[in-house]
Amino acid sequence: MKITLCFFARFREQLGVQQELYTLPKECSGHDLLAQLAQRGNKWHELFDNPTGVLVAINQEMATLDNIIRQGDEVAFFPPVTGG
């Protein structure tokens, strides 16, 4: 199951990744996906292991970490927004 992962701001900078194609074994929640990413270690673990202040958008709409992620979804993780 392929999804597109996007990272912004502080996450993008610290992970060194803006976007990547990711293989998800099966549908899961944002919480589960972050736990998977945390297993990559280093900065991934630092940012996404038991995270606070991680927001998620699924297909360009604000979602929660409980929402289910499906095949072909674009999933973006980012810190609280600071526009305006």
């Binding site: 912004f8 701001a9 360009q60 980012f78 810190p79 609280p80 927004v81 600071t82 526009g83 305006g84």
Partner: protein
């Protein structure tokens, strides 16, 4: 199209934007807000900021916020312009301008749109201080999230 919502690098002219709203039929009130890069931060003097955004989502997000305002107040037109990229101190960041028949709707809708933009629109600010090479990401304020409470 009566609304104008853009994300852009270039500066905007408030006079021109308000002039567009003045053309609307039966307009009796126009309220505008301009956000600027403030030069004094708690930890030093800001020389510039850099604004990152989520291109595929930002337009949709701003349109959604404006739509929510239109559902709650009788509006004649809304213009929202948010700049991105590298902005020096004193530069304009964002414009929210609202036209309506009467003033209450214009005041309330403009405040609503700004409050929601601050909490929901996918932009992130990086601050550069005088005497420092590395910029740092601005933290979201609890007060911004708390500001939404008055609209519930």
């Amino acid at each position: 199209m009566k609304n104008h919502i853009t994300i852009q690098i270039n500066n905007f002219d408030v006079k021109n934007e308000l002039a567009q709203l003045q053309l609307m039929g039966n307009v009796g009130a126009i309220v505008s807000f301009v956000g600027l890069v403030r030069e004094q931060a708690s930890h030093g003097q800001v020389t510039a900021i850099e604004l990152e955004h989520y291109p595929a989502m930002t337009q949709k997000s701003l349109e959604n916020i404006v739509q929510q305002a239109e559902v709650q107040w009788p509006l004649l037109g809304v213009r929202v312009i948010h700049r991105v990229g590298y902005l020096a101190a004193h530069e304009q960041i964002v414009l929210v301008a609202v036209a309506s028949q009467h003033r209450q709707a214009a005041f309330d809708a403009a405040a609503f749109i700004m409050d929601y933009l601050k909490s929901k629109a996918p932009f992130w600010k990086k601050e550069y201080l005088a005497g420092q090479i590395e910029g740092h990401w601005v933290e979201a304020k609890d007060s911004d999230e708390a500001a939404l409470a008055r609209w519930v």
